[in-house]
């Protein structure tokens, strides 16, 4: 089933960590397997924030050797960053297997991402000037507690609660997906793509990488591919409505925008609240009510609709 949520503070910032936790926790019944956040803080043009993991959570209980392996993998990450000319400003573990680095780097992002992901067990969750992508197993309360997201101040966010149906229960298959290797682009999705393998094969032939077998990843890579060819976010989303088969509603976020697209059958839910100060979207209104308990006007976007808002 899965639940998705998004919010934007227009021309201001807010505690998006706390707000997204409240929204996702109220959608827990739609997917208790994993929870993920794409949080957008104030962009720092001179810096990149890297979120990556060096092992799956499940590996941590499979023997002592994994602890040593993670240390070795992290040392290799540090060495490769230095080799490519990146300067580490801050390096902190979010958990034993997931890390947050602030770096300066002037080179090619794809080369950097590819080189770091070449380290065994490494997966780049996100790279961006404002984006920080956090995902792990369990509900929002658990992930929030693990990663200390309360107090994360920013402009906008998207999030996901996952019910695993056609791929594994692991961090690799959890949402959001970063639109590798585009800085600050992330996607969450509720639905099912029926032309996943055809679409994936076509994109892989164009040189894109996939880390999971989750159909939602295809949306992120598809949008990245279209934008790389010069399409705007909105145009890329509109073409996705035509080219992606199946039933879906997805949210995509960039450094300053949040977009929503719904398939032509309108088979997957989405409720929208829009005001001058705030926009909130979720699979169910109960998530929006967790942030706005007072009476507000909400509505359903229609079939085939694409909307993009600026923060």
């Amino acid at each position: 089933m899965c639940g998705i949520a998004g919010l934007i503070h227009r021309k201001q910032t807010g505690d998006i960590g706390q707000e997204m936790t409240a929204m996702l926790q109220s959608l827990k019944h739609r997917g208790p397997d994993s929870t993920g956040y794409a949080l957008y803080g104030k962009p720092r043009e001179s810096e990149l924030v890297l979120r990556f993991k060096l092992a799956e959570q499940a590996e941590m209980s499979k023997g002592f050797d994994i602890h040593r392996q993670i240390q070795e993998r992290r040392a290799e990450i540090d060495r490769r960053l230095a080799e490519l000319g990146a300067k580490i400003l801050q390096a902190e573990p979010a958990t034993e297997y997931a890390f947050r680095y602030r770096i300066t780097f002037a080179g090619d992002l794809r080369r950097l991402a590819n080189y770091l992901e070449d380290v065994e067990g490494a997966e780049m969750l996100s790279m961006g000037h404002g984006l920080e992508l956090i995902k792990d197993l369990g509900d929002a309360a658990r992930v929030n507690e693990q990663y200390h997201l309360q107090g994360f101040v920013g402009t906008h966010a998207i999030g996901h609660t996952r019910m695993a149906t056609e791929s594994d229960v692991d961090i690799r298959s959890a949402h959001p997906y970063w639109a590798y290797p585009f800085a600050d682009v992330s996607v969450v999705h509720n639905g099912q793509l029926t032309n996943y393998w055809n679409g994936r094969r076509a994109l892989e032939r164009s040189g894109h990488r996939f880390v999971s077998n989750c159909d939602s990843e295809l949306i992120a890579v598809y949008l990245a591919d279209r934008m790389a060819r010069g399409a705007t976010l909105e145009d890329a989303m509109k073409s996705s409505i035509e080219e992606l088969d199946g039933v879906f509603t997805y949210l995509v976020a960039t450094s300053d925008s949040l977009g929503m697209a719904k398939d032509v059958m309108a088979a997957k839910p989405m409720v929208l609240y829009e005001s001058d100060q705030f926009i909130a979207l979720a699979s169910e209104e109960v998530a929006i009510r967790s942030v706005f308990p007072h009476e507000i006007n909400t509505f359903d976007p229609y079939e085939g609709e694409v909307r993009v808002w600026k923060s």
Partner: protein, 278 residues
């Protein structure tokens, strides 16, 4: 006028005009009155309030039932918080005022209550409703009134897709626009959309009637336009007035959609085949 004659004049091929809600439009003595043997005797002048803030769905629905058993005929439900499956399975006369919004499956499987929702309702509101009235002041999600069998279901704002899918009777009134596939496999009843209707309107409908006040994005398979009768015009006028609604371009300019009946193949089947399909 005989009931069957009236039904035919209203553009319906098979529908019998029956049930409590029809009493508002026709002579009460013509209509059978039905209440469940286990229904509670309630007094509409006795009012009780429920604050739903800290209650879960089950507790709220049980509290409504308890209050009805105590004879309360008017219940005000405050702070519903868009929780799911509220006010379901009410098989009783009841005046229920919901102050706020409902989540999924609100007011489903009801038979008899008069419900007013001041906010919005989520997907599948009033699914399988048998009789009574439900009026929503704001918007509604998709599958509004799915498999409706009777009563009046009114949304004064916009609704999502698949309104009245598989509906088997009753009336759905929408003040604003509606999404795609409304009236999909509709079998009986009437649907009134005062704003625009999405594509595939009335797709594969067997029977029933759809009236649209705005633009129709596209008709579904076997849905065809038809001429509106005078009695239908009168019915629409009274029905809209009753709920404070107006056709933006006037009732005379509304479009009427019915089943083309090209998909009616059942009569050509052998009894054994019919049993398999139906």
């Amino acid at each position: 006028m005989a009931l069957m004659t009236k039904a035919t004049a209203l553009g319906m091929h098979t529908e019998q005009l029956a049930g409590r809600t029809q009493q508002r439009f026709f002579k009460p003595e013509e209509e059978p009155r039905y209440t469940y043997p286990q229904a509670f005797e309630v007094d509409f002048d006795r009012q009780a309030d429920i604050d739903a803030t800290d209650l879960d769905t089950r507790a709220i629905n049980l509290r409504i039932r308890e209050l009805m058993s105590e004879g309360y005929g008017t219940i005000v439900l405050n702070n519903p918080g868009a929780k799911h499956s509220l006010a379901v399975g009410i098989l009783n006369r009841l005046n229920l005022q919901i102050r706020g919004s409902l989540g999924y499956f609100g007011c489903g499987l009801v038979d008899g209550p008069n419900i007013h929702v001041s906010g919005r309702v989520g997907w599948s509101c009033a699914e399988n409703m048998m009789a009574g009235t439900i009026v929503i002041d704001k918007n509604a999600g998709s599958t509004f009134g799915a498999a409706l069998r009777g009563g009046d279901l009114v949304c004064k704002g916009d609704v999502g897709a698949r309104v009245g899918i598989d509906m088997k009777g009753g009336t759905i009134l929408i003040g604003g626009r509606a999404g795609a596939f409304c009236g999909f496999m509709m079998q009986r009843g009437r649907m009134v959309i005062l704003g625009d209707a999405g594509k595939n309107l009335g797709d594969s409908m067997y029977d029933g009637t759809i009236y649209v006040g705005g633009r129709i994005a596209g008709l579904g398979v076997d849905a065809v336009p038809a001429e509106m009768t005078e009695l239908e015009g009168q019915w629409l006028e009274r029905k809209l007035k009753m709920y404070g609604l107006e056709a933006p371009k006037g009732i005379k300019n509304m479009q009427k959609i019915v089943a083309g009946r090209q998909l009616w193949n059942y009569d050509n089947l052998e009894p054994a085949e019919k049993k398999l399909i139906l």
